[in-house]
Amino acid sequence: MPRVNVRLHGVFSDFAGGARSTTVDASTVGTAIDALAQRFPSLRERLRDEHGRLREHIGVFARGEEIQHAGGESQAVADGDTVHIVPAMSGGG
């Protein structure tokens, strides 16, 4: 299983008690997110809704691309890749 870095940005770091990064075993972006939520249970409902869907206003980047423009959560990740969890640049106020 590839070892993947996950970096938490902005408020998502706060939700994880201040953690900025961690390393998980995952083969896809989706499994990396799930492993992250397992490590930081306080992140689980902040990342996904009650049906397991990724919440709005979250930018997830892997291999230099936002996943919604690539393979989505099923996008494969390789050993040493970094997945970034970023508050999306959306909305106002």
């Binding site: 902005g10 408020v11 998502f12 939700f15 306080s42 409902e45 902040r46 990342l47 809704d49 009650e50 049906h51 869907r53 919440r55 709005e56 206003h57 979250i58 508050p87 999306a88 959306s90 909305g91 106020g93």
Partner: protein
């Protein structure tokens, strides 16, 4: 004798707690809590005298409910309300209500999409009450300007099985069996748009309140009219008010015929000329008095549905917060007003905690 009062303020950018002694003259501010996040409601639990429940509706990380056991000093995140139906996703909490005195662990929450949730552990976990959305009219509920929300929960003070809720746009629904079954309770209210006579839902209730100690006393501010509960239905009490439109409404804790409203002119949804005023009835809506002593002349403020509240002291304190971030208090039942705070973020809710 009460030790004091706390005003619980939810804003577009966090929640604040303002505390004062029973004289209610000098206020000390605590917070903001959840500083970057919209807080639609902060509810006090009078049964333990120390719990607060906050409806934090953040865009980033989604909505959540926060629980404090020490009047706001520390907070713990609850497990989210969750719908089983994959077509429904919990988007925000509109209102949280401490349960009946005989059920000290029960707390209720109203959400968007319109759902009623029950907690049996003082707010830490939530269970959907599916019977409400199983009502035959559910497929005809529709969102108002603020979304399709269950924004009001009004409990009978003596019978824990009697629960009323308000949904925009659907109206008031009553349960007499603790939430197992529901009946439409809109008789006597007008509709915004013409509907067939037999349609008893599709009413635009804006805020529903029940008296904290006198059973059967309830009132509502509606999109079209202000109403007093009467004979299982509603009696319109808009006559004497400058507008039949508004959101905020609060009942007097000691006098079951006294209520306060903050009428808004349409279409601008601001206090009508000559400016901000609370209107009070002392006879269950038969007559109204404009109360503006100390309020800024010409200021056409706006107060939202959770934006006004009363405390439980004698004389009763009345409080309201404006979308311009001004928090006003009256320690003499509305006769005179003083500014508690200004330049807050947009105020979404004002609640109170009367501290023993």
């Amino acid at each position: 004798m009460a030790k004091g009062v706390a005003i619980l303020v939810g804003t577009r950018k966090g929640a604040y707690v303002f505390r004062a002694t029973g004289a209610r003259k000098r206020w000390k501010v605590e917070g903001p809590y959840f500083g970057a996040e919209p807080v639609y409601h902060v509810a006090f639990d009078p049964r333990d005298g120390s719990s607060l429940y906050a409806a934090v509706n953040s865009a980033f990380g989604g909505p959540r409910i926060e629980v404090s056991r020490d009047l706001g000093k520390t907070w713990k995140t609850a497990q989210n309300p969750a719908f089983d139906d994959p077509a429904l996703t919990f988007k925000r909490t509109w209102h949280i209500e401490a349960g009946h005195a005989s059920q000290p662990k029960v707390v209720w929450a109203g959400t968007e999409p319109a759902g009623l949730f029950r907690s049996d552990d003082r707010g830490m976990t939530w269970t959907h009450v599916p019977s409400l959305r199983a009502h035959a009219t559910e497929h005809e509920w529709s969102p108002g300007a603020g979304g399709e929300g269950l924004h009001s929960i009004a409990l009978d003070p003596t019978d824990p099985k009697r629960i009323s809720i308000g949904i925009s746009v659907a109206g008031v629904y009553d349960s007499a069996d603790g939430g197992r079954t529901w009946t439409i309770a809109n008789r006597g209210t007008r509709t915004v748009m013409p509907v067939p006579k037999e349609v008893q839902h599709h009413r635009c209730v804006h805020h529903l309140v029940a008296h904290p100690t006198v059973p059967g006393v309830r009132a509502q501010q509606n999109h079209v009219g202000t109403y007093w509960g009467a004979n299982g239905g509603w009696r319109e009490i808009s006559a004497g008010l400058p507008s039949d439109f508004g959101f905020a409404m609060a009942l007097h804790p000691g006098d079951a015929e006294t209520a306060f409203v903050f009428p808004l002119a349409v279409p601008e949804r601001l206090a009508p000329e000559p400016g901000a005023a609370v209107w009070r009835t002392r006879d269950a809506g038969k007559s109204w008095k404009r109360l503006a002593g100390g309020l800024p002349r010409g200021a056409r403020l706006e107060v939202l549905r959770e934006g006004m509240s009363t405390d439980r002291l004698d004389p009763a304190g009345v409080y309201f917060g404006s979308t311009t971030g001004d928090l006003w208090a009256s320690a003499d039942e509305g006769k005179s007003w003083s500014l508690v705070a200004e330049y807050l973020p947009q105020i979404l809710s004002v609640g109170t905690a009367t501290l023993a």
